[in-house]
Symmetry: C2
Subunit: 158 residues, 2 copies
């Protein structure tokens, strides 16, 4: 009886460990949440992209461009890759994801594209400090190319 | 007759100017777009907030906290107020706005709250550079209070 009690207690402990480790694995954000966050991040980039576009094509406001460029740079450096975790290849955040499955394949160029995006975004944040419309426009064009390269390969049309 | 032709031409010119100036006034983003962007911005803040929370309550990763704090600070400094333009008091972005009409009333404390949010977010980005979990936790608490103050007054429960 004593032996059986010990075994029963052991079994309970093991079961409880299994349950808590299962719960732990589920503690991270769900795929739909990650997709929602990444869709939000790109919307924020689009907002700030639009602000810079309006400034380089029209009346230039140095302070507004600095704010917008800093926001894009912070997002480019934020580690957006974490929002493309395994399990987020398909699914719905605010809307069905537009990511192509190719992004998740080993050997995809996504890391390379992400680095180029960060590099040009950081450079734009620096150039913005000069308050020179023409220079900002030139660097903004370089940034846009890194967006396009990645979208061409890895983003379905909405 | 000649005089009438000139008057007719003038009238046409004036009418065309009125139309084009009307079109120009409508060129800015629509209210639904502004609401979508602000909902996205707060989602990005929530993502980064969650990352910092996980770091101050669990295993601390200095680099991750710096990235997250920088993103929140950039957004706090980005000029989010522009996304609460007149016309966005009600409406649907990703979902119905949860903003309370009180935010838009003259004399509302929203500017004060926004300044406090920027101040504490910038301070958090500085503190994050130290890589000290306890200090980050303390400053993160101060930031959280500025979020709560504004939400209590101006955000409906979802």
């Amino acid at each position: 009886m004593k032996r059986n009690s010990i075994l029963a207690a052991l079994a309970l402990t093991i079961a409880s460990l299994a349950v808590s480790s299962g719960a732990q694995a589920q503690q991270g954000p769900k795929p739909e949440q990650l997709i929602k966050w990444r869709q939000s991040a790109y919307q924020v980039i689009a907002w700030n992209n639009g602000r810079i576009k309006a400034n380089v094509e029209g009346t230039y406001n140095k302070e507004e461009v600095i704010k917008a460029a800093n926001t894009i740079a912070a997002l480019a450096n934020s580690g957006l890759g974490a929002l493309f975790a395994p399990g987020t290849e398909t699914g719905k955040g605010w809307h069905d994801t537009t990511v192509k499955p190719e992004l998740f394949k080993p050997g995809s160029k996504v890391g390379e594209y992400a680095s180029a995006f960060s590099k040009e975004a950081n450079e734009l944040a620096q150039v913005a400090l000069l308050g020179d419309q023409a220079k900002t426009k030139e660097q903004f064009g370089k940034l846009g190319k890194t967006c396009k390269a990645c979208h061409d390969d890895f983003k379905n049309k909405e």
